[in-house]
Chain length 321, copies 2
DNA sequence: TTGAAAGCGTTACCAC
DNA sequence: GTGGTAACGCTTTCAA
């Protein structure tokens, strides 16, 4: 494989000139540049990443801690990962996976060995050790979620507002009693911020009587959940669902029990709402936008070395078309 | 951050000794090793990955091309990715994501810049350009699926046998007419090998009358599919499903139409079969085992530099418990 | 059992 | 506008 010296020789210039042509960090005469680029093409030269990283002190790689899940949520995560990779590639960076199960140690190892220039941490807890580790390490980083006690830039949907929006949508339809179906991640410690935020937004919003219950994402789990909330409320007419994986069983069971008086408003990505048994009005989780924002917030730190800011997305209601 | 020279100084040895202690590639006296390790701990030394990669000519990183999907299949992919990462970490390697949408060019770039020591390519077509690129590049690699015209080691489930097994299971129950629900990926070019293999195994197996149709993974899509196959067959009593995302709508619609005379046998991971409306006998896709095998096949090439062999998994029927 | 030193292939500073 | 060259931090051969 050709090295930079080979290209330099072929083009009749020095190695540094080749480097500058390729990086564009120096003015090079048009003729010289053309000769160099021709030599690069002729020899099929591709710079050695390790050598570049060693010399320049940056790897052009970002680390990504993505959670591992077994249900419909996996599709969301993938969307996220994919979008982040898109942004990264657009800036000539690569993406290294960091094991979410390995916690702070994995982060420390990857950072200390200088494998990455920055990190995106998904799926943070309310008190997230990894976020603390990240902050203390000093690498550029962005977290998804709203962990407490960190100054790292966060990106998240405003889940309190999202739940409130769902309630007001149901209230406007004249709902008599509304239940929030929360994911098991609500219960901690450590709990997930988004679950807790949704509960507070749900509870605080004006409207009909309400109840909140956690649900297992299985058919029997949803069946049990339904009977619980039916006890909690005089009359159940609306369900706010913050638990994608439970949606197919919920819709199936409501239909089976002929409960078409119950309106379901999920808080979920539109891609998931579209795959359901019946199209539903929903509060959208703008996954791609959030991922893009997270990635761009990271790159802002990598390039301008400027301070990055958090971004809390406003929820929007998407009507079933 | 401490460098190897700092550790060497602190331990009163040379840098090479530190390197050897850490790599274990040379016998070191117990006392020296202890002193070195102590210094490593004291200074919090972590070797610089780029420097190591440059000097040793290997990155301890493997590349992974994982497909991007929007439905239930995403959970399978994640399981795969997660298992591969587990194996990689067990061998002190990291995993770099390679954009599946960027085709051969992405592979070439990653390989030519020596970002990775080997590659795992998922979701190959029957005639896969990327597999060809990979083979020609000469890097250690493993592909999932059975692309034609490559000598790269392949890992896959024997989908022909899997479909045949599903048919024989239905035949044993006295099924009168069986339909295969194929994924849209059946139609090419380029088509997916697994879809084509399933069709041939399905068709060739002895048993009741059969029909094969492709299905869109939506409720209307499945509705349309059901009416097509009902025309094809005198009497539909069994469905072999090679299309995870279509399972929830299929089960929902069969129930809605009170077709409990129809038995559904999916070819899918057990994790997915378990999340369904009703537990189903299914032909298992052993995702974790396949991922593990793929990763280990790659590492066999990385370490022994020996020739790796393909692995076609025998299908097994898993009964709903 | 250990050390010295020559690379590995870039980048970027300092000259010209 | 271009070239020389010293890093970057490690691995590994050669010598002792």
């Amino acid at each position: 494989m050709a090295r930079i010296a080979d290209v330099a020789r072929a083009a009749g210039v020095s190695a540094s000139t080749v480097s500058y042509v390729l990086s564009g960090r120096r003015r090079i005469s048009a003729e010289t540049r053309e000769r160099v680029l021709q030599a690069v093409r002729d020899l099929g030269y591709t710079p050695n990443a390790a050598a570049g990283a060693l010399a320049a002190g940056r790897t052009r790689t970002i680390g990504l801690v993505a959670p591992h899940c077994e249900d419909l949520t996996a599709a969301i995560i993938q969307q996220f990962v994919h979008t982040i990779m898109e942004v990264a590639r657009g800036r000539d960076h690569d993406v290294l996976l960091i094991d979410p199960a390995a916690g702070s140690a994995a982060l420390r190892r990857v950072i200390d060995s200088h494998l990455v220039d920055g990190v995106i941490l998904m799926d943070t807890d309310e008190t997230d050790q990894r976020a603390a580790t990240l902050e203390e390490s000093g690498v550029p980083a962005v977290v998804l979620g709203t962990p407490e006690g960190t100054d790292l830039p966060c990106v998240d949907l405003d889940f309190a507002a999202a739940a409130a929006l769902a309630v007001s949508h149901l209230a406007a339809q004249g709902s008599a009693g509304v239940a929030l179906m929360s994911p098991p991640e609500l219960v901690g410690p450590p709990g997930k911020g988004y679950a807790r935020h949704a509960v507070s937004g749900f509870t605080a919003a004006p409207g009909p009587p309400r109840t909140v219950r956690v649900c297992e994402p299985t058919w029997p789990g949803v069946e049990a959940w339904l009977s619980s909330v039916s006890h909690d409320l005089d009359r159940l007419t609306g369900v706010v669902v913050q638990h994608e994986a439970a949606l197919p069983p919920l819709l199936g069971l409501l239909r089976r029990h002929h409960r078409d008086d119950v309106t379901v408003v999920p808080i979920c990505p539109s891609a998931i709402a579209r795959q359901l048994e019946s199209p539903l009005d929903h509060v959208e989780i703008p996954v791609a936008e959030m991922a893009r924002t997270a990635a761009e917030t990271l790159f802002r730190q990598l390039t301008h070395a400027g301070h990055a800011t958090s971004h809390l997305f406003e929820p929007h209601l998407v009507r079933a078309s």
